[in-house]
């Protein structure tokens, strides 16, 4: 039976994994994603799932084992964070190029050095070119819903790509929120069975994976991934619609929060969007026309859809919770690209915030809306790029 329960974000992911009941879960612990695999190993031990769990010796091995298990015909999941995903790097590309629909919970955490365990998006943003579908979530419910949808998206025959389901470390992974946990059977029915494309254990039809591919075919294989990623956009939309029909919660590629008549909009990813919504509601009370565009799918990136959504907006502040030293923030880069072809372009500028977990409070978000108000009134973006809440800045 579906029930409302109070649970941490990490707990929500392990519940989701229990319902999905993957064939194989290779995993290695790292803060703040550890609880996902700890809870899940208890499910394995208690016989609540049929999963083979492998407690491998590193994340590189975890992702390698994921790829092997998926190629052998299994539905495969894992979870990691930060340095853990950094160590998987080589294998992230192998998973997507071998078109293995692995589903991974990525609890976003800063990268070393210096070592830091708190939330920012340097891990997943660094992997944005790895060929994985990336879905982001504001809270436990969204992360859980994304996880339930992920296998269906990944396994679509015209997609067959791995999916990363992201949420902010500690802020979401370790905070208890109430959410709707759907009925086990309903979830299982929604997801359906797994159909492997070329299982290597099919000895009747032997197949070779990852063989040498030089000037002759490599680029065709890459383009095939590109096309699959384009198809993923439709797959995400379709699966989200099916999900809404059954479970009632509607999701798009991004969420538009009070932007229909908004003049000034913040664009952001993950947990900070909760605070931004609160601030918007306060300012709307006072008649201020502000809104939020919250990214759900960063890969594939919905360029045209975002451009259309921002058509009547006058100024956009893009908040990036990761850095691309020597360039603009990764989200900003995409947003400005999306807006380039729009007939009426809003003003747009970039702010970096929250690296290594530094909080952005509601008062800070009010400050952002004050600043973009001034920019709009003067018609001039004073500072295209800046850090928020930083010493010596």
């Amino acid at each position: 039976m579906s029930k409302v329960l109070a649970i941490t974000g990490a707990g929500a992911m392990s519940e989701g994994m229990r319902q999905i009941n993957p064939d194989v879960v290779p995993a290695f612990p790292i803060t703040p994603s550890t609880q996902v695999i700890e809870d899940f190993s208890q499910f394995v031990a208690d016989g609540k799932v049929d999963t083979e769990m492998i407690t491998v010796e590193s994340e590189h091995s975890a992702m390698s084992a994921c790829i092997g298990a998926a190629a052998a015909g299994g539905r495969v999941m894992t979870a990691t964070s930060s340095a853990g995903m950094a160590l998987m790097w080589e294998m992230l590309y192998i998973a997507s190029s071998m078109r293995q629909p692995v589903v991974m919970t990525l609890i976003n955490r800063a990268l070393s050095a210096p070592i830091n365990i708190h939330a920012d998006h340097s891990d997943s943003m660094g992997a944005r070119d790895a060929g994985w579908i990336q879905l982001y979530a504001e809270n436990n419910q969204e992360a859980y819903d994304n996880l339930i949808m992920a296998p269906k998206i990944a396994e679509k025959m015209d997609v067959r790509l791995p999916v990363m389901v992201c949420m902010d470390g500690f802020i979401i992974s370790h905070c208890v929120q109430t959410m709707q946990l759907e009925d086990d059977d309903k979830v299982k029915k929604f997801i359906g069975g797994f159909e492997s494309t070329y299982p290597v254990l099919d000895t009747e039809n032997p197949s070779t994976w990852g063989a040498l591919d030089l000037q002759d075919y490599y680029i065709e294989h890459k383009r095939a991934q590109h096309i699959a990623m384009k198809n993923a956009k439709d797959a995400i939309k379709k699966v989200s619609e099916e999900f809404a029909d059954i479970f009632g919660r509607k999701y798009e590629l991004f969420e538009s929060y009070r932007i229909d008549d908004a003049e000034r909009v913040i664009i952001a990813i993950n947990s900070v969007c909760g605070e931004i919504k609160e601030v918007i509601d306060e300012r709307r009370e006072a008649g201020d026309k502000v809104g939020l565009l919250k990214i759900r799918s960063f890969r594939p990136f919905p360029y045209e859809e975002i451009a259309a959504a921002l058509e009547r907006v006058k100024i956009v502040t893009v908040l990036d919770r990761s850095e691309s030293m020597g360039a603009y923030g990764p989200l900003f880069t995409e947003i400005r690209t999306a807006l380039f072809d729009a007939p009426e372009k809003p003003m747009v500028y970039n702010r970096i915030f929250g690296l290594g977990g530094r909080e952005l409070f509601m008062s800070d978000i009010h400050d952002i809306f004050e600043e973009n108000k001034t920019y709009l009134e003067t018609g001039k973006v004073e500072k295209m790029f800046d850090y928020l809440k930083v010493r010596g800045g």
């Binding site: 612990p29 790292i30 700890e38 031990a45 769990m53 407690t55 340095a83 070393s112 070592i115």
Partner: protein, 276 residues
């Protein structure tokens, strides 16, 4: 910290500790601090200028050593302390490089580096705090967790077999190999002094309690673990490395098992690779 007044007691290791970083993170009943003090005491005892030491740690509770020591130190990434140390040693062979890290760090995620540094006989000292578990992340199964012991990821027992670390060190080419527990702090300090002075790859495994994340799940209270270390261990220098499996029921063998002389990589490098 301000210099202590004349009548104030000064901690004998104060010179080697970043007191501004205290209190440390180690839980009460944890063994890491004791091993850390033994290591610092050994550094003092060698009489070698502190400027000639460098400490490298990976990530983990044990790995916090590098952050508390007042030496040039590196808190690296999980598993990579040995390659960092190798780089330091090759760039400046006059340094005494000590790797101070956990069983998970050195033998699970970083295991490959260990066997290669031992094979090369890199002139570094590797101290492994074996608490049979990944302590820092909450007690998940490690490559050293005894068969059938419980952990956060093996709630009903570990189905796998653990490494025999001294055997692996010996087989890989280490030229100094010893094992102690954290309650044998005198032997431990002596062993560290020997290892630091030893030319070549030195490895000391130190059995140490993690009451929070290993003891609790395996129903071994802090003091009982220390009792096991005292009562169920046998000191047997030069024991056959193949007979060093850890089984407290049978008795765990401690001592110095290997102390031999072989050329180090910088010596070999001089001989083989330098054009004359």
């Amino acid at each position: 910290m301000a210099k202590a007044k004349a009548n104030q007691k000064v901690h004998p290791l104060e010179e080697l500790i970043r007191t501004e970083r205290l209190p440390h993170i180690w839980c009460s009943g944890c063994g890491v601090g004791t091993v850390f003090s033994a290591c610092l005491a050994a550094i003092q005892e060698t009489g070698i200028d502190h400027k000639k030491f460098s400490m490298v740690s990976g990530i983990g509770c044990s790995g916090r050593g590098a952050g508390y020591v007042k030496l040039d130190s590196f808190h690296t990434t999980h598993g990579r302390s040995i390659p960092f140390a190798t780089g330091i040693k090759m760039a400046n062979p006059s340094l005494n490089v000590i790797v101070f890290s956990g069983d998970g760090d050195l033998f699970a995620i970083g295991g490959n580096h260990f066997i290669h540094a031992a094979r090369r006989n890199m002139d570094i000292t590797v101290i492994c705090i074996n608490n049979f578990i990944y302590g820092m992340t909450g007690g998940q199964v490690a490559a050293t967790t005894p068969h059938m012991d419980r952990s956060a990821t093996t709630p009903y027992g570990n189905p796998e077999m653990p490494f025999n670390l001294p055997l692996m060190a010996y087989a890989s080419g280490a030229t100094y190999v010893a094992r102690w527990t954290m309650i044998h702090s005198r032997d431990l300090t002596d062993s560290f002094v020997e290892a630091i002075n030893h030319r070549g790859f030195s490895f000391i495994e130190v059995l140490s309690p993690c009451p929070i994340n290993y003891g609790r799940r395996n129903k071994i209270k802090s003091l009982d673990m220390l009792k096991l270390f005292a009562d169920n261990t046998i000191i047997k220098n030069n024991a056959d490395p193949a007979e060093l499996d850890i089984d407290f029921k049978k008795g765990v063998v401690l001592g110095k098992f290997v102390d031999i002389d072989k050329p180090t990589p910088d010596e070999n490098y001089e001989k083989v690779c330098m054009m004359r």
